[in-house]
């Protein structure tokens, strides 16, 4: 390999190393403790690693340097136009322009052919832009959960002080909110209610959807398939259209303010999609397998129970998770049918009953949301690809 290590690259990594040393040294001298000190320390170490990485021609180091420079240039541009120019701070504007110039110059140099060559010839932009996009979206989409987490452990004095930096703990963290949530509210009761209704709905869904899906996938031919699509379409009918007549039906059945109302109604949301998901699963099982079982002496139904169900266990598990998450996510029915606090489900209990009058216990609220969300999110994530296969209605195949 005759690729020479370009001098400029050595200079840039040297510069980074000097910056890192400077940052670390000043940290040690002035900011030995506190959050700012920690952040400086982390920054210094990062720069040091980048300096080494760039010297050793590691590609990720180049991407990272690009990322930092891009963010620097963009934020300086924003500061220039949103602040410095608008407030007519000419000196600051000049400084910003110089900084932007340096950033752009460095980016330009790192994209030169001779530098590119030692990093394997490819442009650094695609991976930089990709990282930037992913970073921005991850922060934006995940931010509310970070916010819930941090609010759950903040003291009220810290939480309700507008002059404090809200991103960090200005006072030591506390467990008060969690204590309040578990001891003085119906939170645990709601969790239990949700779990109970969830289990019952899962049972009903499986009992009805499994045979129906198998029958539509295998036993009924062409019009079974059409019926399957028809059932899938009923999934599109939202609770917001049905809750009014259903509330009357619930009243007639004397199930007002009872969890049994939800046990009765929820399967109507979960069954259609579950049938659809399971139909896909059953179709993917080779028919020869059942034929063989039947030749070996099982009946059609016997083959379904003893052969098809065990094989489709992962599909059944998908339906279980899907049903359970749907029960926790549902809002309209439980808001309409259940009125007492102690019988509520988690999704309604938290937003409606944790608010006393106009007083929001934000810390406890956030803790409640986070604790209820994370396990469900985790479970759902495990089975994501299967749900997506269900949603895409086979549109991916084409």
């Amino acid at each position: 390999m005759a690729n020479r290590h370009p001098l400029g690259l050595k200079l840039v990594s040297g510069l980074l190393a000097v910056l890192a040393v400077f940052l670390l040294a000043t940290t040690a001298r002035y900011h030995a403790a506190g959050v700012m000190g920690l952040m400086r320390l982390a920054g210094g170490l990062l720069l040091a690693v980048l300096a080494i990485g760039l010297w050793k021609l590691w590609n990720w180091a180049r991407t990272f340097v690009f990322l930092l420079l891009t963010i620097d240039v963009l934020s300086n541009l924003a500061a220039l136009f949103l602040y410095a120019l608008r407030q007519a701070k000419h000196r600051l504007a000049l400084e910003l322009i110089v900084q932007i110039g340096i950033g752009v110059l460095l980016l330009w140099y790192l994209q030169r052919p001779q530098v590119r060559k030692v990093f394997g010839g490819q442009s650094a932009w695609p991976s930089t832009v990709k990282t930037l996009v992913l970073g921005i979206f991850t922060v934006l989409l995940g931010f509310p959960f970070y916010w819930m987490a941090i609010a759950s452990f903040k003291q009220n004095l810290d939480l309700y002080a507008t002059e404090n930096n809200p991103f960090i703990f200005n006072l030591p963290p506390t467990l008060d909110h969690l204590r309040f949530l578990f001891n003085e509210t119906h939170y645990v009761q709601w969790l239990a209610n949700t779990a109970l209704v969830g289990v019952l709905v899962v049972g009903i869904t499986l009992a009805l959807a499994l045979p129906a899906a198998y029958s539509l996938a295998r036993l009924t031919g062409r019009w079974g398939e059409r019926l399957g699509i028809g059932i899938f379409l009923t999934y599109l009918i939202p609770p917001t259209l049905l809750f009014i007549p259903l509330s009357r039906i619930i009243a007639i059945l004397k199930l007002q303010d009872s969890m049994w109302a939800l046990v009765l109604v929820y399967p109507s949301i979960t069954i259609p999609f579950s049938i659809w998901l399971l139909m896909g699963f059953f179709k993917s099982i080779p028919k020869e397998l059942e034929d063989a079982a039947m030749v070996d002496g099982l009946t059609r139904f016997g083959a379904f129970v003893k052969l098809v169900i065990p094989i489709s266990l992962s599909g059944i598990l998908t339906v279980v998770i899907f049903t359970f998450t749907l029960v926790t996510q549902e809002f309209v029915y439980s808001l309409t049918f259940i009125s007492s606090e102690s019988k509520q489900m988690i999704g309604v209990g938290i937003p409606i009953f944790l608010v006393r009058g106009d007083v929001y216990y934000w810390g406890a609220l956030m803790a409640a949301c986070l604790i209820a969300s994370l396990p469900i999110a985790f479970l759902y994530n495990l089975f994501l690809d299967r749900f997506i296969a269900g949603f895409t209605v086979g549109a991916v195949k084409g």
């Binding site: 390999m1 052919p113 590119r116 060559k117 394997g120 010839g121 490819q122």
Partner: protein
């Protein structure tokens, strides 16, 4: 003049692993039909993809014309490629498929009308469309698919799809054609006619072509020269005759030819001879020959020829399995031993340790 050159080209997919392509050096001549031949996993497709720019080499250089193209993207290399699956754009008509490279490369430029007047924006577009239509129709008629231009790829047969892929490749008049196993998706009957068509097509347009295949028959039939690859290394580079008659090592010897060359270990050499040269001893006249006792264990009658497989009997070659390929005219019984021989000039010698070709020596059979 070499139009495509490859120097010390290496591709390593995972660090620490054996390279998919190792130190390959090639020079491809203007207008040549070159075949990369090798079993699956031999690196032939990786090599082609590096030339196309779809894969970044780990080290080494690729030159097209006299430009080093390593850092150029596929679109800047002015090449055309036909994929194994043809990769036709399923949502575009045949016409739009063929026109796609023209529009993507913006290769049609019309600034002035025929009498030299500058054109307006919309006039330029319509003039460009006119040229485009001419070019697409030219390419389509070259391949005999002029009647299919308004169809979608899914309405075409396999052979028609291949022709559309070729038309899409030729329409931009590329400097190099890359073909990645374009016949492997066709059924056996269609494959033969498509092969002939490809040969005719190459003779007509004369563009430098690199053709990747694992099928030795295709390679022999079509290639001006063949590069035999195995495990990312070039085993032999030569004309079909050279590669077949004078294999550089035992891999090439057994990979080409069906049934493959018989190899028999003999001292520190391996002796090889092709099944068609292994004949009834008394038929070989006027030339030096080596004679074996051949016990026939299985005979396959293939219409025009026999394939006999069996073992050698007696001497140091006792028990070695060999195959003979004979024209009709004799009859053989399974289980019997016959006198077979090989003309001396058809014996190939390979070093036993390196498995490479060595100088012919004398043999001691007994």
């Amino acid at each position: 003049m070499a139009i495509v050159q490859v120097r010390d080209l290496t591709k390593v997919f995972k660090e620490g692993e054996l390279g998919a392509v190792n130190n390959v050096n090639l020079e491809i001549r203007e207008g040549e039909f070159l075949v990369f031949l090798g079993p699956s996993g031999s690196g032939k497709t990786t090599l082609l993809r590096m030339i196309a720019g779809l894969e970044q080499p780990t080290s080494g250089e690729i030159m097209i014309g006299d430009r080093v193209v390593n850092d150029l993207s596929p679109r800047e290399r002015r090449i055309a490629m036909v994929f194994q699956s043809y990769a036709l754009y399923p949502h575009l008509t045949v016409y739009r498929n063929i026109a796609f490279p023209l529009r993507a490369q913006k290769s049609i430029r019309v600034e002035t009308s025929e009498d030299g007047k500058p054109l307006g924006f919309f006039e330029r577009i319509s003039a460009r469309r006119k040229v485009e239509r001419e070019k697409v129709e030219w390419a389509a008629s070259l391949l005999g698919i002029g009647g299919l231009l308004q169809r979608k790829p899914r309405e075409l047969s396999g052979g028609e799809r291949q022709r559309v892929a070729l038309a899409r490749a030729i329409v931009r008049e590329p400097s190099v054609f890359l073909l990645d196993e374009p016949l492997s998706n066709l059924d056996a009957k269609l494959r033969l006619s498509a092969r002939e068509e490809l040969e005719r097509f190459h003779r007509r347009v004369g563009t430098t072509t690199i053709y990747v295949t694992h099928d030795q028959v295709e390679a022999m039939a079509m290639g001006d020269r063949i590069v035999v690859l195995n495990k990312g290394v070039v085993r032999q580079f030569g004309t079909p005759t050279e590669v077949y008659d004078d294999p550089a090592d035992t891999f090439v010897a057994t990979f080409l030819g069906s049934p493959p060359m018989n190899l028999i270990e003999n001292g520190d050499v391996i002796v090889g001879f092709r099944p068609e040269h292994f004949r009834v001893a008394e038929d070989i006249k006027d030339t030096a020959k080596v004679v074996f006792n051949f016990k026939v264990e299985n005979a396959e009658y293939l219409g025009a020829e026999y394939i006999l497989s069996g073992t050698l009997v007696g001497g140091r070659a006792e028990g070695k399995k060999v195959i003979a390929r004979l024209l009709l005219g004799h009859s053989f019984e399974v289980g019997k031993t016959y006198q077979f021989g090989v003309p001396s000039q058809h014996l190939k010698f390979f070093d036993r340790t390196t498995e490479k070709k060595t100088t012919p020596g004398t043999l001691s059979w007994q």
